[in-house]
Homo-oligomer: 504 residues x 2
């Protein structure tokens, strides 16, 4: 880069860091809202978040940003150098942001802000009709957004691209078809086998003891408490304000021994990814997970491939048993392992087991596609939901609160987001399988409570890159190909055959 | 206001609220830094605070703000109407802010940022020499700042004006002379009397029990936990992000029964002031305490006039005794009251009792005046400190850490700030005396744990106004005059004569 370009780059970096600081601070406002903020502060907090987000957007999309990008353009599209990557990623975000008119952005913010309240009310009152008008508007706004951003094949692609760059709805459709074809017979076979005992997981388990156990595990797996912390919130989440300040939250249910722990492991998976991003990228657009799918692959890997594995409990079960002698004294390691891996079709996604989870996502993806294709009216949603649940999982929710109303995502305008959960599941198996190849005694390491080799491998191959490498590049580099369902299906088939007998 | 002016006002309000949101959010960054932030995040946090503060400053001092103020000027200087007050206060802040060149602002930020680290090191190592260079620069920058802002009589006035508008160094000097003349003989007389027992305050007192006791008292006095909260931090402070989100912190010392509680009462006094500001002012420059003196009067009123009073402990002592039976079982209410009001000259300001506290402030004010008058070199400071402590309090600190290095204020560039602590003490007595006139059975109310009448009186006469009324206006309205030392001296003489025998 010549000295003139260097000056342009320095100016661009200044803009990007200012925008980054505003966005990180908006995230702190949101973290505080969910953890410590007094209830009475809600209105002023909403205004503060909105002010910071708007200001970040306004500063980012100024003409000057475009001019600088123009003068710096022409760099290598695959380079992982700091400057080249930052220019490429900034160009991508800038171009998306500029395509949305301030009117459309304002309209989306206003509609989703209202829809969020309407949804909470509809959810609590089991009243889909009350939410339908807002959802219709949101679908319409998402269509407008897709048109503004542009797409080659399908308007859904423009929406999906926000969360999973490089991926198209055609790819997702094909991937999900493969998955469904294998998964439905597998779930049916499991249903026909005898279910492991699990009632003892729902005795009374002291919350403080659960918390302490979870915190020790987080330390063991390598979540860095010098550069992060865990707090309580109603809905677990992870967020970061810098690579040196990553916050995760969990909840503790005294009537469910493992739900809090698996939430902690899940969020710590997200958190360790953020903590592992190269410090050089801090404060820029590069210091983020490269796609929601890759992000979710990390949370699911620690939650499922590690946390729900036999080796993991070989290491930790005796300790857990000591902490809860009266409840677990007579439960063997093997029984415990089976109970935490019980497959049981249920209506609510966030309660779903590892096997049926992806079916919940496919259902949502199909509905979103039909809505965006305008082949389905919002009013027909509850019925279609019930029917598809029956087809996929053999059950029907008792009401809309347990059905079509269960997730807040659509109220927030997030159409195109759900597929990334399933994509993350699939990627987690691809990535874990590569890690196993690289660390042949990985399971033995886990059984000894040694997580450093795995974390170090993830650090080198995924964490450090931030957005310098795309999801496609990361997968290509590790597997020589793209996303596929077979490693996940193989993992599931192998694991659950042990518990339920041979699966199709 | 005609419709044109109304449009200007709306635009001004938009600017002011954006600036307010940025400042409030910077305060959240700072609150989080002192309470929950992981240690490793310090560097990125400093950058974020700096980005938000600079952006707030930059947006505020834009030409457009000046143009709008110009077009809206000519409103009544004493009005307490929302629009008139906002224009007046914004004009004041804008005019101060514009007088400081970006170069000077940058230079102050950079120097104090460095000085803060140097001070921490010097404080820990008892090495004033290490801090002297930075302090010299800070004095020089404060002089430049005073010249840029301008003053009528004394450069110190320009600095004091930032914290205590309308007050001059001549007034402070005269006030402090009166105070000193009465206070020094009083302290000497107390020194010659026998000191109350107090050793039992330093037995071991469980921290959780202390915390719970303090929380109950905060609820009783009326700190609103729907719109605020208390947390732990190394140094107690209060801050607010909106009138509906006021945060206070305290610390608990297991070897000191009352220091945590009095910190809580002190910060709750600040906090209730912020919570009581009229909600209409929220998010604007009006939603702040009107001066640091008035602010401190509220914290000291709840800490001392209420919290260290006999009626207060008539209400709470039995409860405290129940919580700490083994430590307090044999201590009478009267003895306890005497022990928490023990007067004992000591080198450290934050540990000072109510009587000697103001002498610590006078010492600092004299030194600041001489520094600003360039009659004292920074190198001569430690010696002057020792000598003046001897004159005022009859003691000398063992070292500079307990002496000239004890406070962080100068490292932060806050010359002109200290007098507001003593001003607050004096005002607290003036204000409490007015409250007593208005509520004749105030002491009986407090003895019954009824704080509502006092809080309501403060709400009506002080809290609600925010910056709509100046400190001068508030005092004038309540007392018919300005700040004087006599109500405070009278309060001290009366209270401490009961404990130590008749005082001069």
């Amino acid at each position: 880069m010549d000295s003139k370009c260097q000056a342009y780059f320095t100016e661009l970096l200044g803009i990007v860091k200012t925008v980054g600081d505003l966005q990180s601070t908006a995230s702190l406002l949101e973290w505080d809202q969910e953890t410590y903020m007094p209830k009475g502060a809600m209105d002023s907090r909403s205004r503060q978040v909105s002010t910071l987000s708007s200001l970040a957007h306004e500063i980012f999309i100024r003409d000057r940003t475009g001019e600088l990008l123009e003068m710096l353009s022409g760099t290598d599209g695959e380079s992982v150098g700091f400057q080249e990557s930052l220019i490429r990623v900034t160009q991508r975000d800038f171009s998306r942001a500029r395509k949305l008119s301030p009117e459309l952005v304002g309209c989306i913010a206003e509609t989703t802000s209202k829809a969020k309240s309407t949804w909470i009310h509809a959810y609590n009152e089991n009243d889909f009709g009350n939410f339908a008008d807002d959802l219709e508007k949101i679908v319409d706004l998402c269509l407008q957004k897709a048109e503004a951003i542009g797409y080659e094949e399908h308007p859904y692609d423009a929406l999906l691209d926000e969360y999973e760059p490089d991926m198209t709805s055609a790819q997702v459709t094909s991937l999900f078809e493969d998955l469904r074809a294998s998964l439905i017979p597998m779930v049916q076979a499991i249903q026909e086998s005898s279910s492991p005992k699990h009632e003892y997981l729902h005795l009374s388990y002291d919350g403080d003891i659960q918390w302490d156990f979870g915190m020790e595990i987080l330390r063991d797996i390598g979540f860095d408490f010098q550069r992060g912390r865990q707090d309580m919130s109603a809905h677990p989440f992870s967020t970061s304000f810098s690579v040196n300040d990553v916050r995760i939250t969990t909840r503790v249910n005294e009537r469910n021994l493992v739900s809090g722990l698996f939430s902690s492991l899940h969020e710590a998976g997200h958190g360790m990814y953020e903590q592992g991003i190269d410090a050089e990228l801090d404060g820029t657009l590069l210091a983020q997970g490269t796609s929601l799918g890759i992000h979710e692959s990390q949370s699911r890997l620690w939650e499922n491939q590690v946390g729900r594995s036999f080796p993991f409990w070989t290491c930790y079960y005796r300790d857990l048993q000591q902490r809860f002698k009266s409840q677990l004294g007579n439960v063997s390691l093997n029984d415990f392992y089976h109970s935490i891996n019980r497959v049981h079709p249920s209506p609510v996604r966030v309660d779903a087991d590892e096997v049926t989870y992806n079916l919940h996502i496919m259902l949502r993806f199909e509905i979103e596609m039909r809505l965006i294709e305008q082949k389905l009216s919002v009013r027909e949603l509850p019925e279609l939901w019930m029917d598809t649940m029956q087809d996929y999982l053999g059950i029907q929710p008792e009401n809309d609160t347990q059905g079509v109303l269960q997730d807040i995502h659509w109220a927030l305008g997030a159409i195109g987001y759900f597929p990334t959960y399933a994509i993350g599941n699939l990627m987690s198996a691809q990535i874990f399988s590569c890690a196993q190849n690289a660390i042949p005694d990985l399971h033995d390491q886990i059984a000894m409570g040694k997580f450093h080799p795995l974390r170090q491998w993830l650090q080198v191959n995924i964490f450090q890159w931030g957005r310098k490498m795309s999801a496609t590049q990361i997968l290509e580099r590790l597997t020589g190909g793209g996303i596929t369902a077979s490693p996940w299906l193989e993992y599931i088939r192998k694991k659950y055959s042990v518990i339920y007998g041979t699966l199709p």
